[in-house]
Symmetry: C2
DNA sequence: CTACTAATGAGAACGGATCGCAAAAAGGAG
DNA sequence: CTCCTTTTTGCGATCCGTTCTCATTAGTAG
């Protein structure tokens, strides 16, 4: 399902997608809800969740599954990976390729039909690093 | 904290660790609870959760955080990665190295202090593949 | 316009995980 | 062994992110 083939383009859906695309913080559903509420004060959290699901199924958003205990979302569906701060939960993008992955060899080892992989780095973000150093 | 330095070695803790080590399915907390209950019928789910936390903090078990919507646990703490079936949630081990990751380059790009990474493959397991083919 | 269907808002419900607390167990000292 | 201290357990309550229900509203085709 693509943007054009989505059944209805409601104001809520539009604002949610725009907001997600204009933010670089990989927000959780409720963080996004707080931002969207500034434009649509009467929107409900359930609508945000539903639209994030829809957008994900349409390939227009990514769910960063269980980065911590809450799902985070990414409006940038281009190929890139993430680094997460173990201390504050912040998630940043990594666009350069710092790994070569050989999926074909995984097929041979496991017998799975391999459809993809995710590479996620973890560490301490610049901010948390500085706080601890002082 | 290591096995020896753990404050108390209770029967519950012992059985939980043994069970986790003897199983190759990367069980969820409640799956492990069901297995452990066969030996200790009066154990509570809370105790399983608490001990999994303790074992993780001692470096004797791993919490597979991003695998589906429920945490799974692995008693094998040696370096390896996982492949998850998108259809049934099954998780298998991958011991061969099928990727070269350059963490130092990530440090330069992000400014993070990188402490690790996780590489997870996803696809369709042999069983689900066969079911769908028939 | 009308008719039909999808989407929304509000709140209830669900489920995994955690917490509080009294009772039990583990371990040390004597 | 007993006594004492500290940790752990079992149980139930609670938390909180997410999903569901359902009456109402909005989008779209004709």
């Amino acid at each position: 399902m693509t943007e054009a083939s989505m059944q209805r383009i409601t104001r809520q859906r539009q604002v949610i997608l725009e907001t997600l695309r204009n933010v670089r913080t990989h927000p959780t559903a409720d963080e996004l809800y707080e931002i969207v509420r500034k434009k649509l004060p009467h929107i409900s959290l359930g609508t945000v969740y539903r639209n994030l699901d829809t957008l994900e199924r349409c390939g227009m958003a990514l769910r960063l599954d269980r980065v911590g205990n809450q799902a985070r979302f990414d409006g940038d569906t281009s190929q890139h990976c993430h680094i997460r701060c173990k201390q504050c939960g912040r998630v940043d993008d990594i666009f350069e390729t710092h790994a070569e992955v050989h999926a074909d060899a995984v097929v041979r080892e496991t017998g799975y039909q391999v459809t993809g992989f995710s590479l996620e780095f973890e560490g301490k973000c610049p901010t948390c690093k500085e706080i601890q150093d002082n």
